[in-house]
């Protein structure tokens, strides 16, 4: 047993840092470090820079242009990107649909879609959730009816992240209404420009437009856009979810946030003293730092186990729960540290405004980010669903 990173792993970390220092644009990094919002241009710029370096497709096999990294390298890469304030790599194309196309797609589909995912010419979104199918994903009702060499799709998807940027959507659709639950579902790729698709924004509690409703009204989809076999889409859906779990704990982000919390607490004052010297607050920070230390160590144990086997096991459900709770707690404390300056809702300062700040460069985002973090215990299989999974798969209850 040796919990130190090997010299090769440390060298890799240094290589990632060097790249981030040289290539990550300063304005994007500044937004990231202050927890502000990124726009589509930031995301695309960053993903293209990563692709130029050959580092975008961390989870693809090397023969398709992937990095060939193991789980430890991926972990180091994620951690460093978060520390530098780089945008998240949008997972929907490169880390979700692409692995499915690689595993289940035809050579034609692979040649058609994969290169455009690498170059971010196509922005993908995920058509899983529906108004009646949240945690119970197999309850999807969106219908696809075969008519000649097309499927005609009718129905509605919801909580579709950044659908308003998207060129393509991958959808779970019901192709056999008679079959039970998981059977009768197919995995379909749909061009967002197809007539009959309407995207309607959902504004979340932090005032942000991130998610959408997507409506399908007699949308005609060529049959060659079916991935895998008809009615066997659940296999693709499950395979995709194992990839979704990999980085869902957000350890890198949590560490970055904790650093920001300590920074803000050392700047803000009470009774003429830095707040971080206030014993009551300091203890809360200490508690979070200790909890994060344990989560990080658990993450490393899972990462190291996955280094040989590829995809992390069900234990990553532990991290989904712990990783969401700790980020919620950190951002709550961060907003508390601002005192009354947690109140102003300054949409300009949450994004790109260059004008003088109302108070400090760090003060606009914490309360907004706390609200945003509520999503982490809801999405990707709510924390209660994770507990059901653990109860069934690990505890065999």
């Amino acid at each position: 047993m040796d919990i130190q990173f090997t010299p090769a792993e440390q060298a890799f970390r240094e290589e990632v840092r060097q790249f981030l220092r040289e290539k990550l644009p300063a304005d994007i990094a500044a937004r990231g470090r202050h927890g502000k919002r990124f726009n589509k241009e930031d995301q695309v710029t960053w993903m293209r820079l990563l692709n130029e370096r050959g580092w975008l497709a961390a989870s693809w096999p090397a023969e398709f242009g992937g990095t060939g990294w193991g789980a430890v390298e991926k972990h180091i890469f994620d951690e460093e990107c978060a520390a530098f304030g780089a945008p998240w790599v949008m997972p929907f194309g490169v880390n979700m649909v692409a692995p499915v196309i690689i595993k289940f797609g035809t050579p034609e589909q692979q040649a058609r879609f994969l290169p455009r995912i690498l170059t971010t010419e196509d922005w993908w979104c995920q058509g899983y959730s529906e108004p009646g199918a949240g945690s119970d994903l197999a309850a999807v009702k969106t219908r696809a009816v075969r008519e000649g060499d097309h499927y005609v799709v009718n129905g509605q998807k919801t909580w579709t992240t950044l659908a308003h940027y998207a060129d393509w959507i991958f959808c779970l659709v019901r192709t056999d209404p008679e079959a039970q639950q998981q059977r009768g579902i197919s995995f379909l790729l749909i061009d967002m420009k197809t007539p009959g698709i309407t995207v309607r924004p959902i504004i979340t509690l932090d005032g942000e437009h991130e998610v959408n409703e997507v409506f399908f009204d007699n949308v005609r989809v060529p049959v060659e856009n079916l991935v895998g076999e008809e009615n066997k889409g659940w296999t693709c859906a499950k395979y995709l979810l194992t990839h979704e779990r990999t980085s869902i704990a957000g350890i890198g982000q949590a560490k970055q946030m904790l650093g920001r919390l300590k920074h803000i607490a050392s700047q803000e004052q009470r009774d003429g003293q830095p707040l971080i010297d206030d014993i009551q607050l300091r203890m809360q920070i200490v508690e979070l730092e200790i909890q994060l230390m344990a989560i990080e160590m658990s993450n490393l144990r899972i990462v190291a186990a996955a280094q040989d086997g590829g995809v992390p096991g069900t234990e990553s459900s532990f991290l989904k729960i712990k990783g969401s709770e700790i980020r919620q707690a950190i951002t709550y404390l961060m907003s508390k540290v601002l005192g009354p300056y947690a109140l102003p809702f300054l949409e300009d300062e949450l994004g790109y405004a260059q004008q003088p700040h109302l108070y400090r460069d760090y003060s606009a985002s914490p309360a907004s980010q706390y609200l945003d973090m509520r999503k982490t215990s809801v999405y990707g299989g709510s924390n209660e669903i994770q507990k059901n999974i653990i109860a069934k798969m690990i505890l065999e209850l």
Partner: protein, 379 residues
């Protein structure tokens, strides 16, 4: 990064696990606890015959140069079995202090005996007013002709009742809470002026109060330099904390196993109670806390033998805090999920709960270590 055990480590774990499984059934443990000694001489001998008491010591003293991971493996099994033998007090804590501070003569004379299990030691550092602060020492040692005269009282000396030698911290200079001026002495508890009051602890092991009234110890009984013992006490208590974290994890694993088994077998309302989601989620919460605790025990084991640094101190304090919290959570949930049977003396679960609770009150509780961490917080 690699969390896999080497073949030797795997063998060590198997050996310890088998030994505990074969000798520490709950009924046997009850008998050991009720005996005057409070633990099993036969089991202690087996620990030494198999070389387990020698693991952390240098080869020159009959040891195997084992490190934090080897101790982690042994202590986890001892915790799982609720073993009462003073491995932690004698081998880890006292043995560590001897190794770090002892003169060549002292090491040559004592370490082989500790490593071989012939000499059982204990460490007396707490006092009625010290509340885990190792520098708050009011027991005094005055220089007299040929040695030192000890006066004072030492609190809750675990395994002190059976120790052949007790390491006692006493003040040779300075005032009550000064960080310098603390020395460490090898005390023969049979020496004139030593009074003991022995008692059982809530967790099942035995301990004693130590009353020292004009107790003479020779100059050769001092361990290390005069007035300079605090750093070593803190460092070795850190090693003891790491070992104790592993012991707690063994106990937590046992509670989780027992509780999960109970959920699958106990029938109510015509079905196993593990079918109820409210209980499933509690069990999942226990399992998650166990996972977090395991991670911190590993981290502590890997920090235990590192050179002294703020980083090491932070890690060990963090491990202790997290494991105290996790231990309490798992113990309380384990009792709750068992219902009435979890509250009885005759069922092993309640003894694990007490064990976990008592571990949390030794070597500093969670509040104590939160303060330690807070002082060392990097901003």
């Amino acid at each position: 990064m690699d969390f896999k055990l080497s073949d030797e480590q795997q063998m060590l774990q198997d050996t310890a696990a088998r030994l505990v499984r074969d000798n520490y059934a709950f009924e046997a443990r009850e008998k050991f606890a009720e005996s005057e000694l409070g633990y099993s001489v036969a089991f202690w001998q087996q620990l030494s015959e198999l070389g387990l008491t020698a693991v952390p010591f240098a080869e020159a003293f009959g040891g195997f140069d084992g490190g934090g991971v080897e101790i982690l493996l042994i202590m986890t099994e001892l915790g799982r079995g609720l073993c009462l033998e003073p491995y932690l007090q004698s081998v880890i804590f006292a043995g560590g202090l001897l190794t770090q501070l002892g003169s060549d003569e002292q090491c040559n004379e004592l370490l082989p005996a500790v490593a071989g299990g012939h000499l059982q030691m204990a460490v007396a550092v707490d006092e009625p007013t010290s509340h885990y602060q190792l520098h708050d020492v009011r027991t005094t040692a005055k220089a007299v002709d040929g040695g030192w005269m000890l006066n004072g009282r030492k609190s809750v000396v675990v395994a002190g009742h059976s120790a052949g030698l007790i390491l006692v911290s006493a003040r040779t200079a300075g005032s009550d809470r000064d960080e310098t001026g603390i020395s460490l002495f090898l005390l023969d508890p049979r020496a004139p002026g030593v009074k003991r009051r022995d008692y059982p602890t809530m967790g099942g092991t035995k301990a004693c109060e130590l009353y020292l009234e004009d107790v003479f110890v020779s100059s050769a009984s001092m361990l290390g330099e005069p007035a300079q013992a605090l750093a070593a006490l803190r460092y070795q208590q850190g090693r003891a904390i790491a070992a104790q974290c592993a012991e707690a994890v063994g106990s937590m694993e046992a509670v989780c196993d027992l509780t999960l088994e109970y959920l699958k077998t106990r029938q109510q309302f015509g079905q196993a109670i593990g079918r109820f989601q409210a209980l499933q989620h509690r069990m999942v919460d226990m399992r998650i806390e166990l996972d977090q605790a395991t991670s911190m025990a590993i981290l502590a084991a890997c920090a235990a033998d590192a050179p002294d640094s703020d980083e090491r101190s932070r890690t060990l304090a963090a491990a202790k805090v997290l494991i105290v919290r996790a231990g309490r959570f798992i113990a309380e949930q384990g009792i709750q999920l068992h219902g009435g049977i979890g509250l009885t003396w005759e069922y092993v679960l309640s003894h694990h709960a007490k064990h976990l609770l008592m571990l949390s009150h030794q070597f500093g509780n969670d509040d104590h270590h939160l303060m330690t961490y807070s002082r060392l917080l990097q901003v």
